[in-house]
């Protein structure tokens, strides 16, 4: 007998395997690209994402903001301008109505700023104890603005890799709250990526982008290396990360490369367009940084040059992240 475990939801290898099994049932009736959003007919991009977070309100955001950012970010990183939203909310009996409306107001503010319209929705209420407060599912739809359809298939040796800001902030914050660590300076990076991505859609040298959510930057890069015929090499000292995030990761025994981001993306860029991309990004993401390159060598493997000059491999997250003993 096999059971679904929390590890199946961690974003790492077990998640990938589960998704593959689901897609296998659909066979040719499904899209097996394994990208963040699907590009369908008539230049339309579509994605869907479910949201559960504890606590529902956290420094830097809440589940409502997270839902709009998370779903539209999946479009943004494929060069798709978010236009429409459909939202489903599962609510536990006994939730304060005030709280529900506060979450929706927060979702509305992000939607308004992005100029996306809520065009369909659904609410269901579950008996007390059958859900944890509330869950949101968001489907986002938009217009493809790029000619080269950003995606893994475009990756090529020599491409530069850029992250748009410090990594692991959301994951570190939620872990700290979950395990009762007091780190006042921590704040989630939860934000929409479209303002960063939109100016890049007109630069032909952008190859591929991904928001580093569950499983973090490390898992995204592993997916890239394993999903195409390339290797990846990055340098630890070039990766922007705040010291509070490092502290949380150290205390709990996590790898910062596996901590989730909710408003930070990684991009692959043709060397000829690097300068143009950086100067565009710097205006909106001052902490963006080139962290490494796509390589011809060690296909399928992500290598990390460490701060002391050693080399090691980065692997995907396996199972659920749990804190260590000492």
């Amino acid at each position: 007998m096999m059971f679904i475990e929390l590890g199946h939801g961690s974003g790492g290898r077990p998640t990938q395997q589960l998704i593959k099994e689901i897609l296998n049932i659909y066979g040719n009736q499904s899209n097996k690209d394994m990208e963040d959003c699907a590009l369908i007919e008539n230049g339309i991009g579509v994605t869907i994402d479910g949201f559960t977070v504890s606590p529902r309100f956290f420094p830097g955001g809440d589940i409502g903001k997270l839902a709009i950012c998370g779903s539209t970010n999946d479009l943004a990183v494929r060069g798709v301008k978010p236009l429409y939203l459909a939202m489903g909310i599962l609510i536990e009996e006994g939730l304060l109505k005030e709280e529900l409306l506060k979450v929706i107001e927060s979702a509305y503010r992000v939607s308004r700023d992005l100029d996306v319209k809520l065009v369909a929705g659904d609410t269901k209420v579950l008996p007390r104890g059958q859900a944890d407060g509330m869950y949101i599912t968001c489907c986002a739809l938009g217009e493809v603005l790029t000619d080269n359809h950003w995606g893994i298939k475009n990756l090529y040796p020599g491409d530069y890799l850029i992250v748009t800001g410090p990594i692991g902030q959301h994951g570190a914050l939620i872990s700290a709250l979950h395990y009762g660590l007091e780190v006042d300076e921590l704040i989630s990076d939860c934000k929409p990526l479209w303002p960063l991505m939109e100016p890049l859609t007109s630069i032909p040298g952008v190859k591929c982008a991904r928001d580093c959510t569950r499983g973090g930057l490390g898992t995204v890069l592993c997916e890239w290396a394993e999903g195409s015929n390339i290797g990846i090499e990055i340098e630890e000292e070039l990766i922007p990360v705040n010291s509070e995030v490092v502290s949380v990761a150290d205390v709990l025994g996590f790898d910062v490369l596996h901590l989730a981001c909710e408003g930070t993306a990684v991009l692959a860029v043709d060397p000829d367009y690097l300068r143009e991309v950086l100067s565009s990004l710097k205006k909106v993401a001052p902490h963006c940084s080139v962290i490494g390159k796509v390589t011809e060598d060690h296909v399928g493997i992500v290598g990390l040059k460490t701060k002391i000059g050693g080399m090691r491999v980065i692997d995907m997250l396996v199972g659920e992240m749990v804190p260590r003993i000492c």
Partner: protein, 362 residues
């Protein structure tokens, strides 16, 4: 950003010092799991001169938990109406039948806690339920388990107990030192454990066994510095216990923490996974605290259970085999589907090897 080149420059300097002292082949063992992970994570091995080999020791608390102990924990956690609180690392450790994580998936009330205080809180908040805390770890975690038992006694908490599998590091080092098959020139000693026990418990190693010892911190450069000192001791034929982690360790250790341990526990023989029974290497609750001892309270029988066939955890934990030399490594034993705890724990030797270097070997 200024630190950037600096770290590399320092690493290079230490690399040259290592080369200077390591004129002949030397083998060092990092005893502690946190060191093992730091070594893999920093890619430190790729910077070592050819003459220096590093092997990992039995210093990961999850890894040395015996199969019989894991089975007993799982059996207890199955009990209805009981909350079983554990450090996260123990969740995926496979017993003979499944793991605590499997149990939780099937509905058992298993909670991950980050400290034993949280377990006592659970007991206070759930007065109608029995709450059992799985006490594992070395001298680092034993003082807080002791403190929580004293607190539970003071608050007269009647529904709280500890399944105590705490272990002590120096007796295991003695076993390693006495082993004839293992040829180790020096131990990189565990920093965190030493914070508690101090320097003295290691002094028999250079004195009786001619083994060099260094207590080092956990940053990659601390570890390199520790290795340089070990190589120097071997080169100069000057075995002793050097303390290079004085920013955290007092030579006498933490007397308060030691007092807590002595107040609550007695030393007792303990079974270590793959290493067998080691004399006086474990901690049992003193008879006066029997009501907090889950073993007595639930009349548990800790059986001697054989390791799964082919499992070489013992050899790996004693540094006799490298993880990749175990016949199960990456074939039957992977982080997704582990056979032994060394492949599960974030500090486990096999897990670190798999995670940070396996793909290259493949």
């Amino acid at each position: 950003m200024q630190e950037k080149g600096n770290l590399r420059d320092k690493a290079e300097l230490l690399q040259r010092a290592l080369g200077f002292f390591a004129k002949e082949p030397m083998t060092f063992m990092e005893v502690c799991g946190t060191h093992t992970v730091a070594i893999y994570r920093s890619g430190l091995r790729s910077l070592l001169p050819k003459n220096i080999s590093l092997v990992s020791g039995p210093g990961c608390p999850v890894c040395v938990t015996d199969q019989g102990e894991v089975d007993a924990a799982i059996k207890l956690a199955e009990k209805k109406g009981l909350i079983f609180a554990t450090y996260g690392d123990m969740m995926r450790v496979p017993g003979t039948k499944g793991s605590l994580r499997n149990l939780r998936t099937q509905g058992a009330d298993v909670r991950v806690v980050r400290s034993c205080d949280e377990a006592l809180d659970l007991a206070l908040k759930n007065p109608t339920k029995e709450v059992v805390f799985l006490g594992v770890g070395f001298e680092t975690t034993a003082p807080s388990t002791a403190a929580i038992i004293l607190e539970a006694e003071e608050k007269k908490v009647r529904n709280f107990s500890v399944l105590c599998f705490h272990k002590l590091v120096p007796p295991a080092l003695r076993l390693l030192a006495e082993s004839r098959e293992l040829k180790v020139d020096g131990f990189l000693l565990p920093g965190h454990v030493t914070v508690v026990i101090g320097v003295k418990p290691y002094e028999f190693l250079p004195r009786d066994f001619n083994i060099s010892c260094t207590i080092a911190g956990f940053e990659p450069l601390d570890i390199m510095e520790g290795l340089v000192e070990l190589a120097r001791q071997v080169h100069d034929k000057d075995p002793k216990v050097s303390l290079l982690y004085a920013r955290a360790v007092r030579p006498e250790g933490n007397t308060r923490a030691k007092k807590f341990i002595r107040r609550v526990f007695d030393e007792a023989d303990a079974r270590w996974r793959g290493l067998g029974k080691i004399k006086n290497s474990g901690l049992r609750l003193k008879p006066e605290f029997a009501c907090f001892d889950a073993i007595t309270r639930f009349d548990l029988d800790i059986k001697e259970v054989p390791l799964p066939s082919g499992c070489k955890c013992g050899e790996v934990l004693m540094g006799k085999l490298r993880p990749e030399e175990c016949p199960l490594f990456s074939i039957r034993c992977t982080p997704d589907d582990p056979v032994g705890p060394c492949m599960v724990s974030s500090e486990g030797n096999c897990a670190a090897c798999y995670k940070y270097s396996y793909k290259v070997m493949r």
